[in-house]
Structure formats: structure tokens, C-alpha cells
């Protein structure tokens, strides 16, 4: 199994062609990457909202959406995300492949032209975005920031990160800050958008059934920049030394409590130990067959969910669970026991091999998805490591029991965070 990738660096932009016959659509992704910074994050969070409202040729949202409908319901999405200590702004455009639409032509050219417009030619008024759009979208982002608190699971994750990584870049909120929204003007946002075009790392991906050479010609004739001012951002990912564990309990009006635990693995995507960490995570809490699910949920009926997830670019691991408030101490004890069991090598050869297969299975499935394939390839760019799919699978297959135990012993609990019902903890 392999992924065909044709790369070309031109016009100070990195192009990645991923031709494959798996899909009925073509997917374009344009990615802007910069270091996470408190000073710019709220602007970067607001830009997707504003840019979706129109372009120079399609100045209103209605006109832009009608053009997308004309392209047979092409889908545009613009969003920001955090990978390690970088922030990535992605423009996705997915358009049906004209092969399945007899009687249509130049759908591809028209789609590329639209993508170019969205990325390069926003609807501009004087030195900013249209005032009405700026004001309105700022208000919408403000409401979204406020309503994060209503999704208790996400809110608990953010609170854990705030406290555990306090003072580190990684704790910066990708969705921006309410109080920073009033700290910049429309013109300043526009200037930042222009700077981003000069300073960010830009990667462009295309996945689907197409001719790579033709696609490259079409894209490089449109997507250009004269120079790139800054050097590539280096991840500021030096791990914190001598980890000690902290505990924080907060209360809210809710019935189910969220118990989240943060750990330091200090193992990054590019490290040799990374495959062993993947296998460790799989056995610890990555699958329904994992220790956490079996012991917290199945054997003790303590939770509806109990899972672990890795942060591959910062060297963190998180356990997330939803429990009854009165079960806090019991659940915490059982979760800690599972990590101890991993450290002591309390797992069978069979479980080890099964987990490897599950991970490989999961990766293969990811590669069947059009966005999944793009994100998989982009992880290598962010993680500063190129690896073929076969090498990756081979790496996972080679992981030994001793390596998993070694990694387990490197995983250090750093923060226990409980979001619980008011008065819930008093039951203990």
C-alpha cells in the first residue's frame, strides 16, 4: 500500500499532488501555517468567518454560495486548527469530478479560479473588509467563544490545557479570546491577512482522480507569491522538565462529571519512539478493546466513555472520561492502575499484536478518505519527518513489548482536572 505524492516547490509555495482513483470528487486544500501567538490568534480565528462572506467577484455570501451551487454543490470550508505549537488556517474546496457529470466542462478550471479568488481576492472596502461583515462576524465569533462553555467535554479539555500548559505556547486557544476582539481594527485585520500571505508557510494539496502535470500547471499559474519573508517556524517544543502532578476541581451546573488527565510523553512525531507510543496509546485507551474502556466502563460501569488521545507535535497524552460525580476517586484510581499495569508490562503478546493491526487498519481507513489522506501527508510537513506508508506500517509492526513498557514509563501524569456538578465532590 502506498500514497502517490508528487511535490513541487514553485512560486515560494509547496504543491502536493495526491492523484488516486478512490473518490468521485476533487479536494483542494490550501494551508497557511504560523507559530501560535497570543497576539495574532484572535485575528487568525476571525479570518475564516470573514473570508467566507464573499470575494471580489462574488461580493456577497449569496453570490458566492450560488457559484458553489453552480459547481454542482461544491463545498467550501475555511477553518483554523492547532498542531503542536503551530496554528494552521486551511481552505478546503471539494468539487464533484466532472467525469461523473456528463455534459459539463471546464468545471475544474472554474473551481480553481474560485479557490484562487477566495484565497487571494477577498471582498475589500477601502483598506479593510466590508465594515458590516467585519462587525457582524466579530460578534458571531464572540458568541462562539462564549458558548464553548456549553459543551462540557470541550470545555473540560480546554481548562485542562490552560492549567497544565500554563505559560507554554500550546495553551493558546485556537478559537481566539473574547477580550482581544476589541483590540484590533478592521484595517489591522486586513493588514494581518496580507502579511500572512507573505510570512506563513503555504502548502497546497489536491486529492482525487486527475492528471498531476495538468493540475500543477493550472495551479502554479494562479497561486504565486514573490517572496517569503520569514524563516520556517521551528516548533518551540522543548519539554518541561521534572513533571509533578497537580489536581484541579471545578464545578458547573451539570449531571455528568468530566474527568480529564494530562500526561507528558515528550515523544514527538519525528522521534524513533513514536511508533511504540502509538502502540502504547492503542493498548491504554485508543480502542474499545483498550484497558481504559474495558476496566473503567465494562468491568466497573463507571463511565460511558473513557479514552486516551495523543498530541503528536507537543508530546502530550490525554485521558478523557465522563463519570458520575460521586465516582471521582474510584475512577481516578482505576485509570491510574491501568497506566501502572502498562508500566509493569501487564499485557499479553496477543493484545500487543492485535493493537498493531488495529492501528494499521485505522491508518489505512484514514487514507481512503480524501481529507484524511491530505491531513496524513500534512502531518509529515508539520512534524518535520518524511516517511512512506510502508515504512510507517513496518515501524509499527516492529514495536516490541519492551519498547512499549519503556514508553509507558516515560509517560508522566501532569494534571488531573475534574469538572463536576455543584456540590458533587462533597459526596466523597
Amino acid at each position: 500500500m502506498s500514497v502517490k505524492e508528487i511535490k513541487q516547490n514553485e512560486n515560494n509555495i509547496q504543491f502536493h499532488m495526491l492523484p488516486n482513483k478512490k473518490h468521485k470528487t476533487l479536494t483542494f486544500a490550501v494551508k497557511f501555517r504560523a507559530p501560535l501567538e497570543r497576539g495574532t490568534i484572535t485575528k487568525r480565528a476571525l479570518l475564516p468567518y470573514v473570508l467566507k462572506q464573499g470575494t471580489a467577484s462574488f461580493p456577497t455570501r449569496k453570490e458566492l454560495q450560488e457559484e458553489l451551487a453552480e459547481l454542482y454543490g461544491a463545498v467550501l470550508s475555511i477553518g483554523g486548527s492547532k498542531k503542536g505549537e503551530s496554528h494552521i488556517l486551511t481552505f478546503y474546496l471539494e468539487v464533484p469530478n466532472e467525469k461523473f457529470l456528463p455534459g459539463t466542462n471546464s468545471l475544474l478550471e472554474r473551481a480553481i479560479e474560485l479557490l484562487y479568488e477566495i484565497v487571494y481576492k477577498p471582498n475589500q472596502e477601502e483598506n479593510g473588509f466590508p465594515k458590516r461583515v467585519f462587525d457582524r462576524e466579530k460578534e458571531i465569533l464572540r458568541q462562539n467563544i462564549l458558548s464553548i462553555k456549553d459543551d462540557k467535554a470541550s470545555y473540560a479539555n480546554i481548562r485542562l490545557m490552560d492549567e497544565m500548559c500554563s505559560g507554554e505556547r500550546y495553551s493558546i486557544h485556537a478559537q481566539g479570546y473574547e477580550k482581544d476582539l476589541s483590540a484590533f481594527s478592521n484595517q489591522e485585520l486586513f493588514t494581518y491577512y496580507q502579511n500572512m500571505h507573505q510570512e506563513d508557510e503555504i502548502d497546497i494539496y489536491v486529492s482525487g482522480d486527475f492528471d498531476a502535470e495538468q493540475m500543477l500547471n493550472l495551479l502554479t499559474s494562479r497561486f504565486k507569491r514573490s517572496s517569503k519573508k520569514k524563516e520556517a517556524p521551528v516548533n518551540d517544543d522543548v519539554p518541561a522538565q521534572s513533571v509533578t502532578s497537580k489536581e484541579l476541581i471545578e464545578e458547573d451546573q451539570m449531571q455528568q462529571a468530566k474527568l480529564n488527565i494530562g500526561y507528558r510523553t515528550n515523544i514527538l512525531f519525528r522521534d524513533e519512539k513514536y511508533p511504540a507510543l502509538q502502540v502504547f496509546n492503542g493498548m491504554f485507551g485508543g480502542f474499545p478493546s483498550s484497558k481504559l474502556f474495558i476496566n473503567v466502563r465494562e468491568k466497573n460501569s463507571l463511565a460511558y466513555y473513557a479514552v486516551s488521545r495523543m498530541e503528536s507535535h507537543k508530546g502530550l497524552l490525554f485521558v478523557m472520561s465522563g463519570i458520575a460525580p460521586e465516582d471521582y476517586n474510584k475512577a481516578l484510581t482505576i485509570i491510574r492502575e491501568q497506566l501502572e499495569a502498562m508500566k509493569n508490562g501487564e499485557f499479553t503478546e496477543e493484545e500487543l499484536e492485535e493493537t498493531k493491526l488495529l492501528i494499521i487498519n485505522q491508518l489505512k481507513e484514514t487514507l481512503d478518505h480524501t481529507q484524511g489522506m491530505i491531513e496524513f501527508m500534512y502531518q509529515q510537513v508539520v512534524g518535520h519527518k518524511e516517511i512512506t506508508v510502508d515504512e510507517l506500517f513496518h515501524g509499527i509492526q516492529q514495536v516490541t513489548r519492551e519498547q512499549v513498557i519503556e514508553v509507558a514509563n516515560q509517560v508522566k501524569e501532569n494534571m488531573v482536572y475534574l469538572l463536576t456538578s455543584e456540590g458533587g465532590e462533597a459526596d466523597e
Binding site: 454560495q65 471539494e94 458568541q143
Partner: protein
């Protein structure tokens, strides 16, 4: 085995109804690494009152039993089926909706083994009193988790406002009280009636050979015996076309109020082309007015009544149907009355030929895009088959729709007495 090629999407479907009544559909996609299989029964949370197989009198079972059964089917006397799939490098899962229960897996290896595991575990129930008791704690946690989610409360609240008696107004998982009354005998009764092959479909799509797969499934089914099943008699309470409650308020802590306007679809017991046509019209018309490029969306946006949590969704089934249009909003009253006013204005609205052509293009493109997903193809094909609709006929069907038809639908779609509002607000803010 029937073989049918659909040129609009370049896919070949193999289909056969087995002797025991099971419908088997296979869609090979050799260019993918993955295979997805779903085994679905035409049985969901609303099927609470029915005549059990081999009996003559109707019974009513506790709320949430279909979902409870879904959980319990994974557990066998000596093991959990999750482990079987795990050993075969597959990811299993299941879901229960108002009208279906589905068991599924995805895998990139051991495909035949995994298909057999799927079929065998669903057709071999083991319920014990002890394991039924143990599950109650887990499901109670699940119910509490949903109760903490304002979006879920808004969704169920809208249904509660729309429906007087139809069980679509009850949570799919039931309540903590109702699930505690479930017994193992209840589970067996529901199981034997609704998990009969005649009431089920198996859809497998991905990387395999169709003929070999069909032989394998047939051989497996021939070894099993089932009681004879006549038509399942399901009973639904009398449900008026009008809404139950014009305005339903729910108090819970939210940072910004949430509001949804529900439209109750008249109960027409639609199937086949009639069903498909109405379902497409509801969907396309909603999209036309309320998607981010739509006229009504623009008005709500300009009047500061919505943010980007704005949503609209429709669910049309044979025994019920509803539409929900909602958002986080600082002014729920104004949002509700404006949405209702806009909906009522569709009586006199005429969609132009050009707009309708664009709506058709968009809908066809959306379907093509959705068909990138094996899960979509299999799940949609299965649920539509229960309504006597073939998923792969939809694209040509859309091409035939006319602007006259859509306008006839539009002008009779909305009636004030079939509209209701649900609002979620923080009590403390109001005081």
C-alpha cells in the same frame, strides 16, 4: 444474484433476497483498502407497541428498549463481541435511531471473517438478568451525558412540542427510570419479533469479490432456522396533524439562549416515489431558503438573530416527519416569530426555473460527494430500502423533477398550526 450497473455513479450493485427473507446487497469497490458492512433492522425506538411474533395481542414495552437491546447484543455468555472484532483487526460499532437499529464494522483485512462475525453475533442473542442489570449503570451515564448537552435537549424539546402522542417525542435511549424497568424477557420478545431476517438488510461495500461473498453469506444463513414471520403489526397512537405545544421553554445553564422552530409534517404514510419526492422537496427547499446563500438566512443574519450555530434539518419517515430550524440567539422570541413569518411567506412564493436548475445541480453534487463514503452508501441504501426507495435511483429522479411540482409543494407546505417553538434559556439570566 441480481447484478445492476448504475452508470450515473459508475457503481455495480449485487443483490439477492435469501430464502429466509434476508435482503443482501453487495457493492464491491476494489480501489479502496477498506470494507464496511452494516446489518440493519427495521426497528427503532418508536416501535414500542406491537404484536410479538407468534402471538395475537399487542404489548407495549418500556421506553429505550431498542437502544438497550443494541448495547446488550454485543455481550455473549463467555465474551464481548468487541473483542472478536478486535482480534480480526476490525472496528465494530452500532447505533439506534427512531426507526432503525444498525450493527456495523469496518476493516481492511479478514473481511470474510468479519462479515460472518457481524451476522453471527446479531443472530445469536444472549441476555441474562445479571448482564441486563449491569448495563443499566452504563446507559444511565449515557442518558445523563446527553441531558447535559443543550443541543440534544433542544432537539428533543422540539419533538416534544410538535408531537402529542407519537413516540418520536421520547428520547431514543429512554429515561433513567424507564430503563431500570427493562427485563431480559422484554429483550427477547423484541429481539425475536424485530430481528427476524425478513425485517433486516445486510449491506457490504468495499474490497472483496461479490460472488464469493454472496456464497459465504448464503451458506451461513442456510445453517440457521427462524420461525415464520407474517407482517409485523406495529401500533402507533392517534396523532393529530397540529402541534402539541406552541412554545416549549426549557431551563438549563447556557451562555447564549438556543431556539428552534419545528415544522410538523402531515402524517401521510409515504413510501416509494411519493416518499422520495417529498423528502427531496423538503430538503431542497430548506436548503434554498436557509443555507448560507439563501434569502431567509440572509434576512436572519442581517437582523442579528443568528450566529454560525444556525442549522436546519429534516427527518421524514413513514409514520412521522419533522423539520427543525434553530440557532444560538440573543433574542429567541424575535428569532422564532421571524422564522415562522418567513416560513408562512412561502405560500405565495414562486421558485424560478433558473433557481430550481441550480438547486438540482447542488443536490446531485451533494449526493455524489456523499458517495465517497462507504458508510453513507451502505447506511442510506439500507434505511431507504425500508421505505421502498433505491438510493442509486435518486440522481436520475432529481433530473426529472420539475419547477411546477416544486412550487405546488412549496405553496401548500406550511400551515401555522403545524409550527412550534422550543427555547432553551438560563433561568438565572431571566430573573
Amino acid at each position: 444474484m441480481n447484478k445492476q450497473y448504475f452508470d450515473t455513479i459508475d457503481e455495480t450493485l449485487y443483490e439477492e433476497k435469501l430464502d429466509n427473507g434476508l435482503q443482501v446487497c453487495l457493492l464491491p469497490k476494489p480501489e479502496l483498502a477498506k470494507t464496511y458492512g452494516v446489518f440493519m433492522t427495521n426497528y427503532g425506538s418508536i416501535d414500542q407497541s406491537f404484536v410479538p411474533i407468534g402471538q395475537t395481542e399487542a404489548i407495549t414495552v418500556p421506553d429505550g428498549i431498542a437502544h438497550f437491546l443494541e448495547h446488550k447484543l454485543f455481550e455473549k455468555e463467555d465474551r464481548d463481541v468487541f473483542t472478536d472484532f478486535t482480534k480480526q483487526a476490525a472496528s465494530p460499532n452500532a447505533f439506534t435511531s427512531f426507526t432503525e437499529t444498525a450493527y456495523l464494522f469496518s476493516a481492511t483485512s479478514n473481511i470474510e471473517k468479519n462479515v460472518l462475525t457481524l451476522v453471527d453475533f446479531v443472530q445469536d442473542p444472549y441476555f441474562s438478568e445479571q448482564s441486563v442489570e449491569k448495563e443499566k449503570g452504563i446507559i444511565a451515564q449515557e442518558i445523563n451525558m446527553y441531558d447535559d448537552q443543550p443541543d440534544w435537549r433542544l432537539f428533543m424539546g422540539t419533538n416534544k412540542a410538535l408531537f402529542h402522542n407519537h413516540p418520536v417525542n421520547i428520547d431514543i435511549a429512554g429515561t433513567v427510570d424507564s430503563i431500570y424497568t427493562i427485563t431480559k424477557d422484554d429483550l427477547y420478545t423484541c429481539y425475536h419479533t424485530f430481528y427476524h431476517p425478513e425485517n433486516m438488510i445486510l449491506f457490504v461495500t468495499g474490497n472483496f469479490d461479490a460472488q464469493e461473498m454472496m456464497n459465504l453469506i448464503k451458506e451461513n444463513q442456510q445453517k440457521k432456522s427462524f420461525d415464520k414471520l407474517d407482517d409485523i403489526k406495529r401500533q402507533f397512537p392517534e396523532e393529530p396533524d397540529t402541534v402539541k405545544e406552541k412554545n416549549l421553554m426549557i431551563n438549563m445553564p447556557v451562555s447564549i439562549p438556543k431556539c428552534a422552530v419545528g415544522i410538523k409534517e402531515p402524517n401521510k404514510q409515504l413510501e416509494g416515489e411519493e416518499y422520495l419526492k417529498r423528502d427531496l422537496f423538503v430538503d431542497m427547499v430548506l436548503d434554498h431558503f436557509f443555507s448560507t446563500g439563501g434569502e431567509f438566512y440572509q434576512k436572519l443574519y442581517d437582523e442579528d438573530l443568528i450566529d454560525n450555530s444556525f442549522f436546519f434539518e429534516s427527518n421524514l419517515q413513514t409514520s412521522f416527519g419533522y423539520v427543525s430550524i434553530g440557532s444560538n440567539t440573543n433574542n429567541p422570541e424575535a428569532f422564532s416569530s421571524r422564522v415562522q413569518e418567513l416560513l408562512l411567506s412561502t405560500k405565495d412564493h414562486e421558485i424560478s426555473e433558473a433557481d430550481f436548475e441550480r438547486m438540482k445541480k447542488k443536490k446531485m453534487g451533494q449526493l455524489l460527494r456523499a458517495m465517497n463514503s462507504l458508510e453513507f452508501i451502505a447506511n442510506q441504501f439500507a434505511t431507504l430500502s425500508f421505505k421502498k426507495v433505491n438510493l442509486f435511483d435518486i440522481v436520475p429522479f432529481i433530473q426529472k423533477l420539475t419547477v411546477q411540482d416544486v412550487n405546488v409543494f412549496l405553496n401548500s407546505w406550511i400551515e401555522e398550526e403545524r409550527l412550534a417553538t422550543c427555547t432553551i434559556q438560563n433561568q438565572t439570566v431571566d430573573k
